[in-house]
């Protein structure tokens, strides 16, 4: 296939959209937590992994459709997010001080420890082997593009959730106070925003969307206790490209990353996938430390 044919292929465009929408959903949660707490949750991808296991067990154990399991898994994710915020993050504030410059470094190490614990506890409980199941594998055709039903479902659900959360942020009072905390934390406190509550909700929402993404991923690919980490990396790239705390631009950046990955692998070889991913990552951090779509008035 020539390069032009590859670039024009509808099949690849569909694959890029599916990957991009999942990345957008995963990155959304990471970005909310970073935006409101200034903490990079390195264990975010592990929540995706746990969500995927939840859907896997629901399907193989009780025959529950992943599409039905997904909301339940997301609700469990929200509870886990609340528990982590109440039990761990508040304690970190107490030991390090919420405004300390050491907080970012310390929180990173804390979440790294958490990530190691989650991965190995999962390996302990579920064995380290990769698992998968087949669900909604019938193929639909649109023109000459073949699409499996599970990918269509993943694309629709991930896309709809992203749009719903973006609407929540821009329309509701809760969204307004979230954006206030993201943009001007001190000022938000002064005008009476309950910062602690906003942070707790961000954690819950962030974990819920990650777990939901996991349930969707479980339909599409094999999962293992260590398959969360690539999602953490992808989400990092997305929120760095989109600008930390900038939710809307993150959606565009996620689609861009999905395209880079899909077309890059199609044009070269599968060996290059990780090189592309980390190359985009390093380039994003070095070249666009404030995001591709940074506004001129962006805060320092």
């Amino acid at each position: 296939m020539s390069i032009v044919e590859t670039l024009l292929s509808g099949q690849l465009l569909f694959a890029a959209l599916v990957t991009g929408s999942l990345y957008a959903l995963v990155a959304l949660g990471l970005n909310l937590v970073y935006g409101t707490l200034r903490m990079l949750n390195v264990a975010h991808g592990d929540v995706v992994m746990l969500g995927a296991y939840g859907a896997y067990w629901a399907f193989t154990g009780w025959g529950v459709s992943p599409l039905l399991a997904a909301p339940a898994v997301a609700a469990l994710g929200a509870l886990a997010g609340l528990a982590v915020y109440r039990g761990v993050v508040r304690r970190l504030f107490a030991s390090t001080g919420q405004t300390s410059t050491r907080l970012e470094g310390n929180s990173l190490l804390l979440f790294f420890g958490l990530s190691i614990i989650l991965q190995n506890a999962a390996a302990f409980a579920f064995t380290p082997n990769a698992r998968g199941f087949a669900y909604l594998t019938e193929v639909y055709h649109l023109g000459n593009v073949a699409m499996t039903a599970n990918r269509i479902a993943a694309l629709v659900i991930a896309g709809a959730t992203c749009i719903a959360v973006a609407a929540l942020l821009s329309r509701s009072l809760l969204g307004l106070s979230m954006r206030a905390v993201i943009e001007r934390r001190e000022a938000a406190t002064i005008v009476g925003v309950d910062v602690d509550r906003v942070q707790a909700i961000s954690f819950a929402l962030g974990f819920a969307t990650a777990a939901l993404a996991g349930a969707l991923v479980s339909m599409l690919e094999q999962i293992s206790p260590f398959s969360g980490f690539p999602f953490t990396i992808a989400a990092f790239i997305v929120i760095i490209l989109g600008g930390l705390g900038n939710i809307g631009a993150g959606l565009g950046a996620a689609l861009l990353l999905g395209a880079i990955e899909t077309y890059g692998v199609a044009l070269t070889s599968a060996n290059v996938r990780s090189v592309l991913l980390y190359g985009a990552f390093v380039a994003a951090l070095l070249l666009f430390p404030r995001g591709l779509f940074a506004r001129k008035s962006a805060r320092a």
């Binding site: 990079l40 030991s95 390090t96 310390n106 420890g113 060996n271 390093v282 070095l286």
Partner: protein, 308 residues
Amino acid sequence: MATTATRGWLGVGIVGVALLAALPFFANPYLVATGLTLLMWLALTQSWCVLSKMTGYVSLGHVVFYGIGAYLVVITWQSWPLPLAIAAAGALAALFAVVIGLPVLRVRGPYFVILTFGIAELVKYSILAGEAASGTASRILFGAPDLLVIYFAMFALAAAATLLLVLVSRSRFGQGLRSLRENEEAAETLGVPVVRYKLLAFVLSAAIPGMVGAVMALRSTYFVVGQVFDPMISVTVIAMALLGGGDDARGPILGTLFLFILSEVLWVRAPLAYMLILGAVLAGFVLLAPGGILGIVDSLRARRVRSA
């Protein structure tokens, strides 16, 4: 008080050095190999501290220098004399730090942490892709030197790394690094050459792990790229330094010993349990004892002094 404490540390240090130097002459090969691993972690952690503890720029990519050094020795195997290859490994790692240093050290805080991680992974996957393209997946090394030679080479590297950190932490240069850790803008305003200092610290902390990787590559006759660029090496180094606490050479020694003993006890029998405990130790120390073992020791001593 301070002098007795210093003398106490010095005494413990001298006994430790003598014990490690004499180890190959009375111990069996298994114990010597264990001592070698301990020295390797010590060299890696002390060298990591030269940049990351002193300046607060926490690198999660220390393994990249180790891997570069190991890879250089392996690809020049039996075409370059070993001492030259090991020295070149250190030089290459330092050169890599010079090349990436200026852009990378502009990035701060958590971005620096994940950037260094990304760079290490990028180098790993680039080499893996190159190896896959050329059809080499792994290599077998014949004719590596004796364990005793490797042990003393590593001993020298661990001593050099420790000495480097002692010298840096006591020097004017070290004071400059500490000042930019506390407040980079203020340090710059006061005339600390911030950019030059950071770069120098980065390069100094890179050369030793390059040579450590080169020496450790001689230990296994079977070479796999993924192994010498394993990100867990970087994580372990950070855990050791964090556990130790402080910003001079004592902390890394305590932290390295603690985690090393833990891993020796658990790693072979229960690797998953070891990883679980490693994660718990990282999270637990951040939450409960951000000052590390040294912080606990110091506060205990302060309490004793107060009650006396």
